[in-house]
Symmetry: C2
């Protein structure tokens, strides 16, 4: 039960960046998106990945690891489109 | 040790939205920011708050609860400034 809740929560916070990536691709505009936000979130989800690993918490580890990749890609887009 | 790591990770992912809020206040422009992103993240951090509560995990509960408030405020700003 908690495992399912954690996975759903993790998929949502991990996937939250997807509409932002999609919007950036559609408009090719990212000037209102804060790079500071992305940099801090990447550091945070990286630490959550380590935290989840240390606590053997699969939802936390897995979803945050994917979030590292997605947010890094969005950060790259802010350079590509500006 | 894990508690400290979790708190640092939580403060980062929670605080990631702060530079975005600050940028929105400075430029009064939010058109490139995805509302879908904010809506999904708010749902996600809300579920993380419940997950953390059920697992008696203080860093997860506390930081995600504050993240609900901060991300809701950013969502409000996308309406205020557009």
């Amino acid at each position: 039960m908690e495992m399912v809740l954690g996975l759903v929560a993790g998929v949502l916070t991990m996937g939250g960046i997807v509409p932002q990536i999609s919007k950036a691709h559609r408009t090719k505009q990212t000037k209102d998106v804060s790079r500071g936000m992305l940099a801090i979130i990447i550091s945070g989800v990286l630490l959550w990945t380590v935290y989840g690993f240390l606590k053997s918490d699969i939802p936390v580890t897995l979803t945050n690891f994917i979030a590292v990749l997605l947010n890094s890609y969005m950060l790259y887009l802010t350079y590509k489109f500006n």
